[in-house]
Subunit: 335 residues, 2 copies
DNA sequence: TACAATTATGAAAGTGCTTTCATTAAAATA
DNA sequence: TATTTTAATGAAAGCACTTTCATAATTGTA
């Protein structure tokens, strides 16, 4: 198969197969554009020589690597996955490879952030729901690695964001408009050090809306719990057991809202009559469960991030873009 | 530092500094061969432009980081995502990058399969729920690209599989043991040409189990529908409306089982008393919905695939491994 | 001071690939 | 059968550098 010689080039394959280098290149990159018989012969020659195209030469000729990196928190929350889906979908249409870097500690985040821009084997980077500091940004800029941030903004870098305060406000106002006065808030706690915490902004919006409406919230109505359904269910039960319990709960993430919903089912509480529930995110399951929620269009955020990124890769003179995704209450059956 | 332009090339530095590209190149690669004053000027120009020689960057990229590719069907079914999660999780613990190749057509699959082994970019490959032919396998082997298949086996390549026939049998027997005699089957149809179809094996198991138990199935009890909840819900309603309707439904995927479950809620049918439902896969949502199902431990399949892959990367003399994942009925509340 | 060495530089020829464009052969249509 | 389309191929022009070789300027030597 391989003879001990120098690494074979596309020219060797051309010589052995009798076809031009253009055809060899085609067999490798656009096999469907070449006659089956020819393709077969070329492939034979490739196999015979053990030819492996050099990535560096390829990148040089193409002027890009065809590879986008995504730095994302540990693959676990449904919302991350839906963003990823948006990213993967639009990327595959554009014929880019997707390289995923999962972050499970501050250390790892920093290590990615400091090495990735230097390696030169990425055409662009998406940083999802993770904080970057000025130093990281400077490096990204210095090494000309086009980047889009999702959820965490920075003035010098493209971003796709939502206004969490506003989102919290919208959700709460919706509840108020429906006549609720005793409204509880359920958010997540125990966030890992490397991650960001949008929920605290949603809480801010919650407070703001109530203040505008001149409604007092007892502190016992504001609860934080680890981000999972089990704990949310637990808290929901506690809230329901409170004397003068809330008539509505705003859960700052859908996952937790679903936990609350489950609690109501177990307790035989009627939703929305006895208790209204509104979530935040609009994950896939929200639709299935008919959960009323604030949609932030997760898939779209991924799609958009890629769109912006690719446009900046194509034309790096474009000005930095900061896109705000609209937030809307999706009315379903739980309020 | 950088003005919004394209990434500068050695030519830009040449133009700005007034020296030829040869000199620029020398300043970078053999600084001692160029006059100190010239070198200074060139360096100034380099700094001014923020020029980063691509090749050098790439050299630095020779960091110790491996790269694992995963070829996966279009990022959509929850089961794929859970497998991915298993993969991403175990990979992030090791020093490997994860490159994702999403397949949305036969063409693309073939193009990945024929080009990936050649590029030498990957240290290992996982092919998820996608069929490979002997030719593909030969290429993988010839180019020494360690590979693990998930769900679709091949004698010459590592694989992580489940026995779908057996799974269908288990689910059906479970229903029979619970006293059901009129059992319907709901599977998915309209599979894209490039994908595999485990559900047909589950149907085989279904038939087998019924035969062993001497139970006849009317053909009207065996239904296929596109893979989504909406259609599943529709079909469920039709089944329920049948004269002498089934007392149990085996949905060959959880997603469809959940569609059925939703139909029962809308129709006010009591589960499991009026209708029992069993699914297959055990996706996250199954737990939330208390769906009785056959667990195939999706996360684990991803984890295992990586484990096998890495061990083969470390020691290529290892014999091919075919691992069968156990299937068990997870008893929850719908049967 | 004449001539060889040395040093600093640029022109141009690679490097291994991709892609555009033109050409030819084959198929489809009139 | 003549003519337009389409498919399959090759020639050649990039791509972003590195390297070789030739040339000019400077220094060293007798």
């Amino acid at each position: 198969m391989k003879n001990g010689k120098k690494a074979p080039t596309i020219f060797d394959v051309s010589a052995l197969s009798g076809f031009s280098i253009s055809t060899i290149s085609r067999v490798i990159n656009n096999p469907e554009k070449v006659n089956a018989e020819t393709r077969q012969k070329v492939n034979n020659a490739i196999d015979q020589l053990g030819f492996v195209p050099k990535a560096e030469a390829r990148a040089r000729a193409l002027r890009f690597m065809g590879r986008i990196g995504v730095i994302t928190p540990f693959f676990t929350a449904p919302s991350f996955i839906q963003r990823m889906r948006g990213i993967a979908n639009s990327l595959s249409k554009e014929n880019f490879d997707l390289v995923i870097y999962t972050v499970d500690s501050n250390n790892r985040l920093q290590s990615y952030l400091s090495s990735l821009p230097l390696t030169g084997n990425l055409d662009g980077l998406v940083i999802m729901s993770l904080p970057v500091n000025d130093n990281d940004v400077k490096r990204l800029l210095d090494y000309h690695l086009p980047t889009t941030l999702i959820e965490y903004p920075h003035p010098l870098i493209n971003s796709v964001e939502i206004d969490d305060v506003e989102g919290g406000r919208i959700a709460t106002e919706y509840l108020i408009k429906k006549g609720h006065r005793r409204i509880a808030f359920l958010g997540d706690s125990d966030l890992p050090e490397y991650s960001i915490h949008p929920v605290s902004f949603r809480l801010k919006g919650f407070r703001k809306a109530l203040k505008s409406a001149n409604i007092e919230v007892p502190e016992s109505f504001i609860r934080l719990a680890p981000y999972n359904q089990e704990q949310a269910r637990q808290i929901a039960k506690e809230l329901i057991d409170l004397p003068n319990s809330p008539t509505a709960i705003f859960a700052a993430t859908d996952l937790q809202a679903l936990g609350v919903l489950k609690a109501t089912r177990q307790l035989g509480i009627k939703v929305p009559d006895d208790l209204a529930i509104i979530g935040f995110d609009d994950i896939d399951m929200a639709d299935f469960e008919d959960l009323t929620t604030v949609r932030q269009h997760l898939d779209e955020s991924g799609r958009l991030a890629i769109e912006i990124l690719l446009s900046h890769i194509a034309d790096s003179s474009r000005p930095v873009q900061h896109v705000y995704l609209p937030l809307t209450v999706i009315e379903r059956l739980t309020v």
